[in-house]
């Protein structure tokens, strides 16, 4: 069966050059970088090179500002808890946006249980942070502002330079989660005014098992994993050498291919949304229109009157890999908090699908996706009581209201006896 991978946000295949670069570090160059003999010193050199490659991707001054972790989640935990604990005596207030990644949201929740407070700055209906709210949220007790560069869910690009300027004025360090942007959009730690930046090579054709945290030397950070003195004492534990080496090569390739990759996926993104919009009625794009405010890899849509997991399963059955923010796909049975934060109606959040493009997707993939997806939507609508009730005027559309019937949410509340969340 033909396979179309549209979930590059979760994983990307290794570049052959990355795989080749990693290979010797599993076998002959197996040493531990902390060892003092030549086996250790050899891999220490390899780590240094990888650090330089990572630094180059985000235009950091020195490889000494690069720490390796196990993945993006660990980087976020280290950035938030590490800065919070280091500055405990200065203040116990944090500022984040309402649409951060769960690794940020949940790290902050953890700290809140220990006496820290946090202000969650709202976003507009496209998912762009409200700068005036951010400005107002920072207090003399604020020790860290954490705002992502690109939203992992809806692809919105934040006005991160303005955020950086506000933080600089208030002299509060800024942590920028670049997990959804590094390798696809230019990241420049100095232009961003970022004290900390995190990203992961598995988002741009590197391996899983390595995360990168940049930390400007001026930002205070304590370790949250204790043990040996690896990573400048900021992260104990033996480094995942093959993954780090592979990640470094992936970063080096990303530097040279960034523009051509971005241009390629931007064309596919525009074609995909145009195709979906013209073939399927009652469909909505969540987040900004393709263009300067949206990462070129991401399409996040809500198709009305049907649920997302069913769409995902049928797409998978046809060979398409996608993601969804519907409550039915989450273990907590809650819709994606990002869709909630942009004020998306529950009915639309339920019908959510996220497609993320990669460099190997083609125009044919996109056309085939549109065609298959349109068929699946028709099939699922045929099975949905909501579609039938919409056609009979019992409930109304949220996307294109006809003025007939009650809202889906009202209807759902009526039949379940409880309001939809």
């Amino acid at each position: 069966m033909r396979q179309v991978f549209l979930d590059h946000q979760s994983a990307t295949p290794l570049l052959p050059a990355v795989f080749e670069a990693m290979r010797p570090y599993f076998t002959e160059a197996f040493g531990n970088p902390s060892s003092l003999h030549h086996h250790g010193l050899r891999v220490r050199d390899a780590l240094k090179q990888a650090r330089q490659q990572m630094a180059a991707l985000i235009r950091a001054d020195s490889e000494e500002e690069i720490f390796f972790t196990s993945d993006g989640t660990e980087s976020a935990n280290l950035a938030i808890k590490g800065v919070a604990y280091a500055n405990e005596r200065k203040g116990k207030h944090l500022v984040i946006s309402a649409t951060e990644h769960p690794s940020v949201m949940n790290s902050v929740e953890f700290l809140e249980k220990q006496g820290w407070t946090c202000t969650r700055v709202g976003v507009d209906s496209e998912g762009i942070i409200r700068l005036d709210e951010l400005q107002a949220a920072i207090t003399p007790q604020t020790v860290l502002v954490a705002i992502h560069h690109v939203n992992h869910d809806i692809g919105a690009i934040q006005p991160i330079r303005e955020v950086g300027r506000i933080c600089a004025e208030k002299a509060v360090p800024l942590y920028v989660d670049c997990e959804a942007s590094a390798g696809w959009l230019p990241v420049d730690v100095k232009e961003f005014g970022a004290a900390l930046v995190s990203f992961s090579p598995h988002r741009f054709y590197g391996p899983k098992g390595v995360g990168v945290l940049y930390r400007n030397k001026k930002a205070r950070l304590v370790s949250i994993i204790h043990g040996g003195v690896q990573e400048g004492g900021r992260r104990a534990g033996t480094e995942n050498v093959p993954a780090i080496v592979g990640g470094g090569v992936a970063a080096a390739v990303a530097v040279t291919e960034l523009d051509s990759r971005a241009k390629h996926v931007a064309e596919l993104q525009a074609r995909l949304w145009e195709g979906l919009r013209s073939k399927i009625r009652f469909i909505k794009l969540n987040g900004p229109e393709p263009g300067p405010k949206r990462v070129p890899t991401n399409i996040n849509i809500s198709t009305e009157f049907i649920e997302g997991e069913g769409q995902l399963l049928m797409l998978d059955h046809q060979g398409f890999a996608v993601a969804s923010g519907s409550s039915c796909v989450s273990k907590s049975l809650k819709i994606s908090h990002v869709l909630g934060a942009i004020g998306l109606d529950h009915a639309l959040a339920q019908g959510n699908i996220i497609m993320t493009l990669g460099k190997d997707n083609t125009v044919e993939d996109v056309d085939y996706t549109v065609e298959t997806f349109a068929r699946i939507v028709t099939k699922l609508r045929g099975m949905s009581p909501m579609w039938d009730e919409f056609e009979r005027g019992v409930i109304d559309s949220v996307i294109a209201p006809t003025g007939r019937g009650k809202s889906f949410s009202q209807h759902a509340a009526d039949v379940s006896g409880k309001p939809a969340h």
Binding site: Q3, E309, L333, M383, P385, H411, A412, S416, G417
Partner: protein, 142 residues
Amino acid sequence: MSDTYTLYNPTVMEHFMNPRNMGDLKDADGVGEVGAAACGDIMKISLKIKDGKIEDARFKTFGCGSAIASSSMATELIKGRTIDEALKFSNQEVVDALGGLPPVKIHCSVLAEEALKAALEDYVKKHPEAASQVGAVSAVAA
């Protein structure tokens, strides 16, 4: 390959991809529509009832794969049952017949049980004469 690794077991996938009894019944004797408070999904079951027996059943579902498979299986299972029997129907029967559901997806089968019972209630409301013939119905209608 996408049919080697699937989110649900082969029976559930089969009922999801090729649902039985999908649709509405013209001149249904009882219709029940319920929503899942947990995830916000909606299921509707229509019944044709004759001489105290379920002659035919159809469903429509706005919900996940497990919900669609559950409604497909539930409508299969209850056809031919008496109202009395159907009132004792439990979601566990659906789960067993489907060969199991992931723990977080059990509530979707409960939705099928609730939709069926709502349809029976609707039937009794519309056919008060049937209530006297059916022992347990009064408890439901109350």
